[in-house]
């Protein structure tokens, strides 16, 4: 599918927001799903790059992705101009289940794991009301979309250097909450695996249900190559992050 760049904005040093329009099944997008984007038109980059869908406007028929330029592929994406077309596949994978969500919800995002949680929060908020949203960034430079999250709930920011919000990791902000083990019924998270692992440890003894979105290097992005597996706690066959995920019940996967 070919979509077009409708807008491209530099949010911080290396973070870019791209609004994409053109034919795409916007209506079927679930929060947590991703698109797999071809880089260039030649043979310099033969693997697509998976990027989460961060927002959808189903009326204007467009979607937003947010990416950090870390390597050749994301750098190329950050250099697109309005009107350029992109070859994208998607929406791919399974997103965050939200149907059965009830009770107090905690959303925890870290760094470039934050964007898909925006779409999630927008969809969850009408269902469950006030959300507790905890976002961790490296520093002030690294923060983005704080204003977009603000209306969706009770937003706490943590930065490693304390330049915005609380100082430290998001997990420190969680344990700083009184009775954190009993405070929430649902947890949704996306961010570096080290963060997800730390969160899992915090809640593993509790009754909190929830989901995490995982990342792994991908080749096909559609479930055909078995490149992107994660292992499940019950030692069953490995699960493909691109197909069975990227969102998993946080108790089911080994982090």
């Amino acid at each position: 599918m070919r979509v077009n760049v409708a807008k491209i904005t530099n949010l911080s040093a290396d973070i870019w927001e791209l609004v994409l329009n053109g034919p795409f099944p916007y209506d079927s997008i679930q929060a947590g799903q991703f698109v797999n984007i071809r880089i260039g038109e030649n043979y310099d980059h033969i693997l697509r790059r998976p990027i989460s869908i961060a927002a959808v406007d189903r009326i204007k028929q467009r979607m937003t992705i947010v990416l950090r330029a870390v390597g050749a592929g994301t750098k190329w994406l950050s250099e697109r101009r309005v009107g350029d077309s992109l070859d994208v596949l998607g929406p791919l994978g399974h997103g965050f289940p939200i149907q059965s969500t009830a009770g107090a919800v905690l959303i925890v995002g870290g760094g470039i794991g934050v964007p898909p949680l925006y779409l999630l929060a927008k969809e969850l908020q009408p269902i469950v009301g006030q959300l507790d949203i905890l976002l961790g960034f490296r520093d002030q430079q690294d923060c983005f979309w704080l204003d977009k999250f603000a209306p969706l709930g009770n937003v706490t920011i943590a930065t490693e250097d304390g330049s915005v919000g609380k100082k430290g990791y998001v997990t420190e902000a969680i344990v700083a909450e009184p009775y954190y083990e009993k405070k929430w019924q649902y947890l949704y998270s996306c961010g570096p695996t080290s963060m997800l692992r730390a969160i899992k440890e915090l809640f593993v003894e509790t009754q909190v249900k929830g989901y995490v979105s995982l990342e792994e290097r991908m080749a096909c992005g559609v479930g055909a190559c078995y490149g992107c597996v994660c292992s499940s706690e019950n030692k069953q066959a490995a699960k493909r992050i691109c197909k069975e995920g990227p969102v998993f019940d946080w108790r089911e996967v080994t982090l």
């Binding site: 071809r38 043979y43 310099d44 980059h45 033969i46 693997l47 697509r48 070859d87 596949l89 792994e216 290097r217 991908m218 080749a219 096909c220 992005g221 559609v222 479930g223 055909a224 190559c225 078995y226 490149g227 992107c228 597996v229 994660c230 066959a237 490995a238 197909k243």
Partner: protein
């Protein structure tokens, strides 16, 4: 001009066109069936199947490199029983010939799986992936010693009634010797090339990018090696050859056929573009029309 005839005959297995997805790059077909009808393809080649389920390697298993990619999937698959019951049963409803890629750690494992695939009557051919480590020979691959290979092929041929294609490893001194060994062992055809062995190091972390350290190199960069090997193999065997390695366009496929291949497989290109196979089929057709080629036999091996 008449419509170009794309059919090819692979040791009695007639394909409506010479293009198949390469093993391991197309799952069991389900994922790509959402993009186009599988019956568009010459055949579907499924992931390596082993006797028991294999979990495969730790992640990261794939990485892009200049000119291609490295993979160390480790032949992860749910094992013979599930492959037959859950995958082949479904795939056999798709109106397309099925080729099952078979792997093992011992000759006996290869034989058991190949025999079972033949007996299940859902598949049309077996492709032996001989790049697996042979536990009896200290982990050296079956595909690097002509004698070991010939014995393996002979044993499998005895128990498997389906057309048997032997998929050669390119990591050898003489591909001609390996091709001849396969032919002498009774192979009905050979397919080549499997991946070259490669490695990438993350210089910031000071360790290999793939958890497995080394991995298989595939994609555009290996095409010249693959074409050369098809050419060298075609010079010394008379059984049909299925060529692959970096095929991304119809022109690439034609190149392999001119080097001596009867059919081709497309691996990595599926990842770049899920429509790679049907596009390549169309491009081959177009080339035939433009060049007044009525049958692929006219160009097969024309540079030999």
């Amino acid at each position: 001009m008449n419509k170009p005839d794309l059919t090819v005959d692979l040791a009695g297995l007639v394909l409506k066109n010479p293009v198949m997805p390469a093993s391991g790059c197309f799952g069991y077909g389900r994922e790509y069936a959402q993009y186009y009808a599988l019956e568009t393809l010459g055949a579907v080649v499924v992931k390596a199947t082993t006797l028991e389920p294999w979990l495969g390697n730790a992640t990261p298993r794939v990485t892009e490199v200049r000119g291609g990619m490295l993979n160390a999937i480790g032949l992860a698959n749910p094992g013979l029983q599930k492959v037959v019951q859950e995958e082949l049963v479904w795939l056999s409803t798709q109106n397309v010939p099925i080729i099952v890629n078979v792997a093992g750690r011992t000759e006996d494992e290869y034989c058991q799986v190949s025999e079972a695939i033949a007996n299940c009557e859902l598949a049309h051919a077996v492709e032996l992936n001989v790049s697996c480590p042979n536990v009896k020979c200290g982990g050296i691959s079956f595909g690097v010693d002509p004698h070991v290979l010939q014995d393996l092929v002979q044993m499998v041929k005895r128990v498997c009634a389906l057309p048997l294609f032997v998929k050669l490893s390119p990591n050898v001194t003489s591909i001609g010797d390996m091709a001849q060994a396969a032919e002498q062992g009774g192979a009905d055809g050979i397919s080549l090339i499997n991946t070259l062995i490669g490695m990438e190091i993350n210089i910031h972390r000071r360790k290999p990018v793939l958890a497995n350290g080394i991995g298989g190199l595939s994609g555009p960069g290996i095409k010249p090696v693959a074409v050369r090997m098809v050419y060298q193999a075609a010079k010394v065997v008379s059984i049909p050859i299925i060529g692959m390695g970096g095929i991304f366009t119809g022109a690439d496929a034609i190149e392999f056929m001119m080097a001596g291949a009867t059919a081709v497989m497309v691996g990595t290109a599926n990842f770049t573009d899920p429509y790679a196979c049907p596009t390549i089929i169309d491009q081959i057709k177009e080339f035939m029309v433009d060049n007044a080629i009525t049958s692929l036999a006219e160009i097969r091996g024309c540079v030999l």
